[in-house]
Amino acid sequence: MIRVERRRLDNGLRIAVAAIPELRSTSVLLAVEAGQWFEPAGHAGVARLTAQTMLRGTATRDAAAWADAIDALGAVARLDIGAHAAVFSAQCLGTDLAALLELMAETLRTPALEAADLEFVRGQTLAQLERDERDTRAVVDRVWRELVYPRDHPFHSPGIGDAAVVREATVDEIRDYHATAIRPDGALLVVAGGTTADAVAEAASRTLRDWRVSAPRTDRATSAVSLPRAVRRAEIVPDKTQCDVLIGWPGIPRDDPRFVAARVTNMVYAADTFASRAGNVIRDQLGLAYYVFSGIGSSRGQSPWIVRMGVNPENVRRAIDVALDELRKITVGEVADDDLALAKDKLVGELDVALESPGGVASMVLEAELFGLGDDHFERYPKALRSVTKDEVVAIARSCIPPDRYALVVAGPPLPEPLA
């Protein structure tokens, strides 16, 4: 069981530490409420541009000096934009934690955000967007979001953003986003591994205590999303062998009381290529695909709940039919007791196995703290998984992932027959 020690700085920054004294390394996650959910409408991509530009140097160190400093620690770090949070994640030796936090704090608090830095990041981002246009997985993700979420919804675009926004973003825009969104209130520092809560608190206090942001946070109004009918789209990506197939629905927020049951439903249906029904039939029984898996996102909003498959064009139609048929069976109550027990066993067992790595522990703590799941979450969560009933699974499948109201995108070589 994970034991978490919690602290809080005066500026609102929360600290959660899961010490694992046997380890030399630590996993650090500094999450700021600056993910897609908080991005201003019509500016998809500004959050990521800001994050990447922040990594180009600070008021006291240029990009080269900052890179030298983090590599001198041997740390591995990145700053990603997720559906909910911007997460500065790193792994370092426990003895280097204070120095790492100093570099992270400098980046968050006093990034240089110079025009030349933005131009560099813009060039890199446009190159990635160009690469994504011929990447079947990136294409299905982009097109699926466009089908499901209205243009003004935070999840309408992938985290990398819209090419037009990326091309036109100005330094002022980046600086403004940094000034309003990168803030300690709502932020959370999670550390797991070879350190102590006192050491983390002391280092964090030294580097982050004076972090203040006075600009008001701008809330973004977001309406509920639902699919009135099934929508299907095929995108041809030239010179590919395999199609990426994505079937999905707008999911439910992490704080929705049905979320735990949704995770069990997801596992029964398609989460695991081998343990779930869709993968069992599509791969194991019919040999139609190498991988079949699904995922349900954790955020304040309706993150995507999606099934992914990689399928030869000749088999696309059949694989889709089977995937939806397996879902249909769940919605009419055809859930074997053993399948439900297996899904719960797997989800509970994985909690123990995740303790093997500081990164796994930190991720679980981050979710619990970010969404306020309670101090006793790690005690209650396995019991909550165990208590999910077949009726709940059926109800979730009917209401959240109905087999007659979904968005489907296929990207890859031309299909032998139209999708519709």
């Binding site: 030399r24 590599d71 591994g193 590919k240």
Partner: protein, 411 residues
């Protein structure tokens, strides 16, 4: 051979079984046989019908998988400590008792074709496969691992079964376990589980197909519409894992491209190639890889170019940087960074139970070291001079293989 390690920070055990069979043991006509066989080891045994293993491991919450490389085929499961004995039973059982039925072989064939087709969607895979093929004229490393699509489609069941009976046996395997128990006890339990497993009488000698010396640069161009950014890939002949220069080559790859493999991470940006290519706006990302292998293999460098940048320009800068690092010592400050990244990444990998066991198995199976501690000592002892000398020995024009991926317009 059984090797056990204690890892007391989590209530789990990670069990790995390494078989000395991979692409290296294959001949033209049946390339991909070891990888195909890996899939068949999940299709049932005399005691555990198909699906039994998957469901049991899922029930335990296990993290499990298998992979095949040029050198080895490997199966692992990380699961709660209380289930260690069950995992041992499953692995000992499938070491000799897999069914590999005709029906299941046919059913799995299309899954493997699908796996190959997924890889073919990636221009880096296409270029890397072609470049590896031209880098070896005799050694089976040139055949890669997954096999050609046609050979997968023709793979005979009886050939698979013969391959299985020959290579899957305790006298051709390493068992490596790391977990939350006394190492002696973990090892004893494994020894008991595999004690009665029948050895193979037909392993034969390790493959001997020494690669003749390369006498000049080899060059290929792959043109496809399936990617939008150009790629430049270099592959130099490099020593095997047991060569005394292997630790210095590991450090060399860090000096060139850091430890995280390119991308948009915040670390590794002080590396030579990141600064020369990515910071200069020539490449979107760049990587350098030295792999621990049983036989002499390749030191890989690859750069994904920014749009509109010429291949020749990136290749020129790459070669300049390789020449520089082969000629001049890293500065003391730079070498300290490289060394720290190398040793820290070693700690990160071995702080996870699964990867601790994997790392140990890789060192043992390739002959790089007899333990994780020994490999760490070798890495810690690398000097600036050794890095320079290793670069000078490897980055030689006549050992060089060059590949360009040229994106084409869609029809």
């Amino acid at each position: 051979m059984i090797h056990a390690l204690e890892a007391r920070h989590a209530p789990v055990v990670s069990l790995w079984v390494w078989y000395h069979v991979g692409g290296r043991n294959e001949v033209p006509g049946t390339t991909g046989m070891s990888h195909f066989l890996e899939h068949m080891l999940f299709k049932g045994t005399t005691s555990h019908p198909k699906g039994d293993l998957d469901r049991l491991l899922a029930r335990y919450g296990a993290q499990w998988n298998a992979f095949t490389s040029e050198d080895v085929t490997c199966y692992f499961e990380t699961l709660p400590r209380a289930r260690y004995e069950a995992a041992l039973e499953l692995e000992a059982d499938r070491m000799r008792n897999a069914l590999i039925s005709v029906e299941e072989t046919e059913a799995e064939r299309s899954v493997i074709v699908s796996e190959r087709e997924g890889l073919e969607n990636d221009p880096s895979f296409l270029l890397g496969e072609e470049l590896q093929a031209v880098a070896f004229s005799r050694h089976p490393y040139g055949q890669g691992v997954i096999g050609s699509k046609d050979e997968i489609k023709l793979m005979p069941r009886d050939g698979l079964y013969g391959h299985y009976r020959r290579f899957y046996a305790p006298n051709n395997a390493y068992v490596v376990v790391a977990g939350d128990d006394d190492a002696g006890r973990l090892a004893d339990m494994a020894a008991r589980a595999f004690a009665e497993v029948e050895p193979s009488k037909d392993i034969g000698e390790p493959p001997k197909a020494p690669e003749p010396s390369q006498h000049g640069e080899r060059r290929i161009v792959v043109r496809r519409a399936g990617g939008s950014l150009p790629i430049v890939m270099l592959a130099f002949r490099a020593p095997r894992a047991s060569d005394p220069r292997a630790p210095a080559l590991a450090a060399l790859s860090v000096a060139l491209a850091g430890t995280t493999g390119g991308g948009d991470g915040a670390s590794g940006r002080s590396s030579r190639l990141h600064r020369a290519l990515v910071e200069k706006g020539l490449a979107a990302d760049v990587d350098a890889t030295f792999q621990l292998m049983k036989d002499p293999f390749l030191f890989w460098l690859d750069a994904t170019l920014r749009p509109e940048v010429a291949h020749a320009e990136v290749e020129r800068v790459l070669l300049e940087e390789l020449d520089r690092i082969s000629r001049d010592l890293l500065s003391e400050e730079e070498f300290a960074r490289v060394s720290r990244q190398l040793l820290a990444s070693h700690a990160f990998a071995t702080d996870t139970v699964t990867w601790r066991a994997f790392h140990c198995g890789r060192l043992l199976s390739t002959g790089a070291a007899s333990s994780i501690a020994e490999w760490y000592e070798k890495l810690a002892a690398v000097t600036r001079e050794q890095v320079r000398d290793a670069a000078a020995a490897v980055f030689v024009e006549r050992f060089r293989n060059v590949g360009w991926f040229v994106p084409e317009a869609a029809d």
